[in-house]
Amino acid sequence: MQCKLCRREAKQGDVLCRYHSEAKKALKDSYARWNEAYSGISWEEYLNRVKTAEGTGQWVKDVITFEEGVTVN
């Protein structure tokens, strides 16, 4: 199956390729850090800020666009 965000092959049991999956993992892992930095930040606001922050990787931005509204497990 093709990745939902690019033409690469999706990882087995996933809808994203290895790179977009890696970006998604980094995005989820960073939430705790941001939450602490702002003494509480909603997931939606977090995505919004990461998307516009300087230095955010392109694959992370792709994931945000695709997964906006996703909640942290």
Binding site: R7, R8, E9, Y19, E22, A23, A26, L27, D29, S30, R33, W34, E36, A37, Y38, S39, R49, V50, A53, E54, G55, T56, G57, Q58, W59, V60
Partner: protein, 701 residues
């Protein structure tokens, strides 16, 4: 050749310019220039002996696999052939080889005077071996690092037979290894890609190319998956007796916004006291003289010049006898080059007169680095003055080399570091300044040294300061930065892959192949896909370990500790395994790379967002009907009719900035000598003046 000119020694040089320099330096009187079959030949006499100087134009022989089909692999039977049979772009090789063969027939002895390094040795060895009929073992070797008269005369007087054989063997082995890796991997990859589609696409991969691409791709993945973390900085603006200055909080980064805001609140409107004031004096020693890599990095830092271009310019300066041989690893300047004489001669050039005068007042001892090269010293100016006014990058690189050389003899610079700490309600703010007390070597190299002074206000410990304002700013941690051509070269050097002479070329090849692009260098989708595929099927190809190990083995050959055949056999064994894996997985490999390759070619033609529909991209298209190229919107099928004509000849590429007047993309056009930027919008406001002028001219005519 002059009549009755016989019983001569044949001198083989690497380039025509070098041949002329050699003849001019050794001849008693002027050398005689004659044309043989359209090839320049120089003859002269010295100490009652006759000499003939001929030259190559780079490699006259190249490796090939007996001209088999491009789909055939693996291939391990290689032969050296005249370069024109291997590469159709090699011009004039046939005539040159024929001339050398004719000259060799009547020669009584041979002297190899090609550049003294693995590449030069290979060029000379092949000519002596194939064009001169197996004279590589008996030919004398003249070794020189500059093309000045003195250096050339002494190198020919000391020429010995067989003294470059290790280098030649290493050079030839390197060519064989590169060819075996290059041809087999490229054919395997190209066949995989082409078997899964129509049309033909060449995918190349090489021994050094693979790991270098690996560096860029791994960095690219880090960048594209990077999530920055926020932090806050707190800076206070202080005032004392009308003098204001800013100082950041000594805590550095505040990882929580609340901490930053509370520090800001605690300091606002308060008074600060200078709690610490320290001064320390330190010495900065001169930098070592340039080796190839250091020169390339410095030229990139100061002029933005690519490593390839720097080496080309430096070679030109070497052929003009203005600097020493620029392909060297050495950071050493042996006294035998004649420090005093060179510095004194440089004093004849106005720009260096003062430095020269000052340095000659004392004894000269050069600052050296640790790196060595048994063939050549570090790069240094010969002291000869340019015969013509140098322009452009030649002038800049010459100036850089001369100033760096002069700086090596300078005294240590003495600088002072001043640290200041201000206490505001238990919160520290710090400021560090630097000033130069004695310029030392910086006097000669100042414009390139990059060391700047930073003033700190004159204050005393215990001084009270008014806090005018406190600012807190949200910032984000920076992710890893992309390599630029210079830092990529540095990484290759650090990992010991490639050679000083070939690293820049490897980077240039990756750019030409569209595996990487831009500056800083970013990996393209094709580059990422290639490394991803290699990582999955044959990781050795993109790993540094194998390449580094091969470099070590080549060094052993150069030093005479090992024989080339063993290294080649080992490489064949490894290659066979990799190729077998690629062959078994041909469909998978081909499919993945093909997709990326198509995507990559497509992205090359995109020149920017469509300003009309704002959804599609403006793409360069060539009409199948008329063959003309133009710009059209990728949303044509959805009804967007945005289009514009393009110049029909010359090279066109997209630029990052859209037109300031109309917002349409701007392209960079190179045709002839002067490139220009062109807004593709025919009705752009910015073109009104030009359009009116053209119309007026048309009316007049």
């Amino acid at each position: 050749m002059p009549a009755n000119f016989s019983d001569y020694s044949l001198i083989v040089c690497e380039k025509p310019d070098a041949a002329r320099k050699v003849a001019e330096a050794l001849a008693e009187g002027h050398p005689v220039i004659t044309m043989m079959n359209g090839v320049e030949v120089l003859t002269f006499q010295r100490e009652n002996s006759n000499y003939v100087v001929c030259s190559a134009i780079g490699h006259l022989y190249g490796l090939s696999d007996s001209f088999s089909q491009r789909e055939t692999y693996p291939v391990f039977d290689l032969e050296w052939y005249p370069a024109n049979l291997v590469d159709k772009r090699s011009r004039g090789v046939q005539k040159r080889i024929a001339s050398i063969k004719r000259l060799a027939g009547d020669a009584r002895s041979f002297i190899n005077a090609c550049d003294y390094d693995a590449e030069g040795e290979t060029i000379g060895d092949n000519i002596l071996r194939y064009a001169c009929g197996g004279k590589e073992g008996v030919a004398l070797r003249a070794k020189f690092s500059t093309l000045t008269k003195d250096d050339l005369v002494s190198s020919f007087a000391e020429a010995k037979a067989g003294s470059g054989s290790g280098l030649a063997k290493a050079g030839r082995t390197r060519h064989v290894l590169d060819f075996l890796w290059g041809i087999n991997l490229s054919r395997a990859l190209s066949t995989s890609v082409n078997s899964s589609s129509s049309g033909y696409k060449t995918i190349s991969m090489g021994r050094v190319q693979g790991p270098t691409l690996g560096f860029v791709v791994r960095r690219e993945v880090e960048i594209r998956t990077f999530v920055p973390s926020p932090y806050w900085s707190v800076t206070a603006l202080f005032e004392k007796d009308g003098v204001r200055f800013e100082a950041p909080s000594s805590k550095g980064k505040f990882l929580r916004r609340s901490d930053a805001l509370s520090t800001k609140a605690a300091c606002e409107g308060k008074t600060g006291v200078v709690s610490e004031l320290s001064r320390s004096v330190f010495k900065e020693p001169p930098p070592p003289p340039f080796n190839t890599g250091d020169l390339q990095k410095e030229a990139y830092r100061t002029f933005g010049l690519s490593p390839t271009k720097t080496l080309q310019v430096a070679e030109r300066l070497y052929l003009d006898a203005l600097i020493s041989y620029p392909r060297t690893s050495s950071q050493k300047l042996p006294p035998s080059i004649g420090y005093r004489q060179i510095v004194s001669k440089l004093g004849g050039i106005t720009a260096y007169a003062e430095s020269s005068r000052e340095l000659l007042e004392g004894s000269l001892s050069a600052k050296e680095g640790e790196k060595t090269d048994h063939a050549h010293p570090a790069i240094y100016p010969t002291g000869d003055h340019p015969r013509k006014v140098l322009g452009g990058y030649e002038a800049k690189i010459f100036d850089l080399v001369v100033r760096r050389f002069l700086a090596c003899f300078g005294a240590d610079a003495v600088r002072e570091r001043i640290s200041l700490k201000v206490d505001v309600q238990g919160n520290d703010f710090g400021l560090t300044g630097r000033r130069t007390l004695r310029l030392g070597w910086m006097k000669h190299y100042r414009k390139f040294s990059g060391a700047e002074d930073r003033a700190v206000p004159k204050l005393l410990k215990g001084d009270m300061l008014t806090v005018v304002r406190v600012d807190s700013e949200e910032k984000f941690e920076l992710g890893p930065s992309r390599y630029n051509q210079s830092s990529l070269l540095e990484r290759m050097e650090r990992e010991s892959i490639g050679t000083k002479a070939t690293r820049a070329e490897t980077i240039a090849t990756l750019i030409v192949r569209n595996y990487v692009g831009g500056d800083p260098v970013a990996a393209t989708d094709l580059g990422i896909s290639l490394v991803e595929t290699m990582d999955e099927y044959c990781p050795k190809i993109v790993s540094t370990e194998l390449t580094r190990e091969t470099e070590r083995q080549l060094e052993d050959i150069e030093e005479g500790r090992s024989d080339g055949s063993e290294v080649i056999e080992q490489a064949i064994t490894i290659l066979l395994k990799q190729i077998e894996t690629l062959k078994v997985n041909e469909t998978g490999v081909g499919g993945e790379i093909r997709e990326a390759s198509v995507e990559s070619s497509r992205s090359l033609n995109v020149i920017g967002r469509c300003p009309v529909c704002k959804a599609g991209n403006l793409v360069m298209i060539r009409s199948r009907k008329s063959g003309k190229r133009f710009v059209g919107c990728s949303n044509y099928s959805q009804g967007c009719r945005a289009s514009a004509p393009l110049p029909q000849s010359g090279f066109i590429k997209a630029t990052a900035k859209p037109c300031a007047k109309c917002g349409w993309p701007v392209v960079y056009v190179r045709r002839g000598r002067y490139p220009w930027r062109l807004c593709v919008n025919l009705n752009c406001e910015g073109k009104v003046g030009t359009r009116n002028a053209v119309q007026t001219l048309q009316k007049r005519s």
